[in-house]
Symmetry: D2
Subunit: 265 residues, 4 copies
């Protein structure tokens, strides 16, 4: 039996465009940016003010953090979503945040413009099936050990559940290389562009795990056809409660935006 149908180019030749509050993913090249985790209203206000001035399309911030260790910071939960929602409205930016369960999905769908499903939940098929109950667009990240076929089939689960608004996100896979946190598989972007009509963006922050590699890999992502990039930005990466080592500070992000400008057209 065929693994996927609805997501394939055979089923629909024309690129799908996903609308997120006025941002058309798949039409224009878009930038999603923000901190790994929402830490406080002040932090989000500082970040959003900066990102708004720097042409970022969508603001990100995690309220539910699926951390490897139970002893690590798990996120501000609903309080984080309330902050994110308030800041998104203040700066007129659409917001995206991750859902990690049916309960958090309900809340994320209420407060946010786009629902993220993280790499660790790409094969949480019960969560994927529940997305059909919501009309908000989905940002689906590739699992750490997911083949491209499994990645597309996870998207198929969402579409068959009744939600057609899926944006894919390449964020690195597990390999033997240890210099980077993951191996960003940019060929996946070029392949998905061939096999599927869905938009795909890349996340060089998680894909490399090192802030100094984010700029070159953001350029490579756009050059090979990604519809956008997702970048972790923090006012003070050394003090970040999670993923500080892969977050850009404001200066680095400004430089990134200048240098990728020719690739956004």
């Amino acid at each position: 039996m065929k693994q996927y149908r609805l997501v394939s180019r055979e089923n629909k030749g024309k690129n799908t465009i996903i609308q997120v509050n006025g941002v058309n993913i798949g039409e224009e090249k878009i930038i999603i940016a923000g901190p790994c985790a929402v830490e406080s209203e002040q932090q989000m206000d500082t970040v959003a003010s900066f990102l708004k001035d720097n042409k970022v399309n969508i603001l990100r911030g995690g309220a539910y953090k699926p951390r490897t260790s139970p002893y690590a910071f798990q996120g501000l939960k609903e309080e984080g979503l309330i902050i994110l929602n308030k800041i998104g409205k203040k700066y007129n930016m659409p917001i995206v945040s991750e859902a990690v369960s049916l309960a958090s999905l309900e809340l994320v769908a209420n407060y946010c413009d786009m629902i993220q499903i993280g790499a660790r939940n790409m094969t949480n098929y019960e969560l994927l099936k529940a997305l059909g109950n919501y009309k908000k667009p989905i940002l689906l990240k590739r699992g750490m050990a997911a083949t491209i076929e499994e990645f597309l089939t996870a998207a198929e689960y969402i579409i068959t559940s009744g939600n057609e608004n899926v944006v894919l996100c390449e964020r690195g896979i597990r390999t033997f290389e240890t210099y980077t946190r993951n191996t960003l598989d940019l060929t996946c972007v070029a392949i998905i562009k061939e096999l599927s009509h869905l938009p795909i963006i890349a996340d060089p922050s998680h894909g490399t795990g090192r802030w100094e590699l984010v700029k070159p890999m953001a350029k490579a992502s756009l050059a090979c056809g990604a519809d956008g990039i997702m970048i972790e930005v923090h006012p003070d990466p050394y003090k970040a409660l999670s993923d500080g080592e892969q977050s850009l500070n404001f200066t680095s992000f400004k430089t990134l935006m200048e240098e990728i400008n020719p690739l956004l057209k």
Copy 2:
């Protein structure tokens, strides 16, 4: 911050023994067997009758199947659990089945003696945290891209949630080798025996994906220290609704049990 504490040998030197209705995992070497999926009462009755006669300790059967494709058989759900429960009682065998969400967890906990968390949900931390609400023992399978440290830390999530009865299960990891479905990482068994006091079993059926490799790898699993093995058995593997190519038929299973006998002591 340290990733895990409670599961470590530093925390508890003596091997933990997990009781599943009279079966003491970690004390005696145990066999869990049964079909990948519960398909019908007749199928389960046939299998259980055979397995009971062949010294199997615990009967398995999936009612909720996390399948790669939404078009593949998804399991009989509660109906499957009812069948499994009835057959378990008839043959006086403890039963184990997989939970894939909070809703299915409630049902699996009601009908079964042991709750399985599958590889695809090892990083579904919200599901792991919910296990503290139940007293039933847990069978936690290693994720396909999970390092040994992440595997132990997933067990730590369960223990910190309030359920100390965790049995680990090595079931193969993703590598470049394509001859097998996964690469059974038996060294993981030996390492876990060093690092942790929790019992660990191996699943050579999923670990290889090919029935003809199950016997040698079952022997290897026991030889390197596994506390037991989990084997897929089906009355007619060619007609199985899932995973037929890795299921043993009755004849092969009988031979397996004879040949592993010296390693069970």
Copy 3:
């Protein structure tokens, strides 16, 4: 003990520029192109004539082919080098070809302007040590399972043997993904640029194994900082004696060159 010294930025901050008969690798972005294997004088004449007109800097062609199977075409050997040398002179293009042993090294060094060491021989340290006997520049490809540290350390072997003219080449690593022949690890390019003063190019032909992915990945390679790309081109890929499925025909190569033009500056 430190694994590598001479190749590191600590040892030499300024980028090394490798001269190959008037082509300055590390200064200008360069294109190496040609067929996987030299098959005949006519084939090479047709290809070189086309590539010369399309601004290719260096002509490639294998005479010694390290094939997985002993029954596959093993190359024309010295006859192939003689053809390559003749055609290189006719079109005034520097040529590069692979050496696979001390004997073939002697011949490749005699006939060619640059000596390639392939992925399968990156850990053939005796071959690496022999390179110090020649002054010709070396093109060292990354091994299929080589970490970035091991890749740099292989270059260190060459430099300590007495040959400082090493150009590195990322060509994909082995991962669980099977859609592509290898996983092109472009982050390696960005990392090498940080850690080492040596130039590095990328090979999207071997890196993907599929001609239709060569163009997007060539762009990504240049965008993330590669000093050039190596592309397999064949007059008639369907008739190629090796690697036809990853070779571009002339039409596709022309399009590639047009589209990467902005990234060559």
Copy 4:
């Protein structure tokens, strides 16, 4: 075109038995043991005296060491082979050592009873082809990124070159797991037993990289059908010039031999 023929069971159904000076590999289960590197005559004398008393069949010791770094100990070369040869004669043990080039191959073939081709040279096809010039049996180790098909095809190179005496050796592959140096892929042993008539042994020392894991993995190797094991033993692992962390001392080796005894039959 088919990748391999001569090594396959289709070509020859009966197990091949390789004779190494009175040791019949493929008939009896054999033990190869010794230090990673020959360091001195005294070291080898001490080791061989101990191993001879403990029923080891074949003595190993590296004279040519293919080390990742050019700054690491590279072996005693011919001097090492002379020592190994002398000690082998003194204790009446067949000896095996690694060849890394045509020059060292000539010497290893002269001094030793069996020629080892290491993992780093499994795809050095020119070295493989040269083995046909010698009648000594070959011990071929699996490459770190070699699929089982590529492993068998490397053996096919040796046989087509004219040397039919090939013993295979599983020694671990590269995966994302970092707790061990390599991931010992024991399923490879069971698969080779199905696909090929050649004997295969396992190397749990390199396969794990940690001495404390050698014993359980040696047992597992024998349990799944390996025709023998290869173990690194050193009189004082803390002072070993290479691979000390994976070498057993005499006490541990004695225990290993006692515990694997039931599996040798």
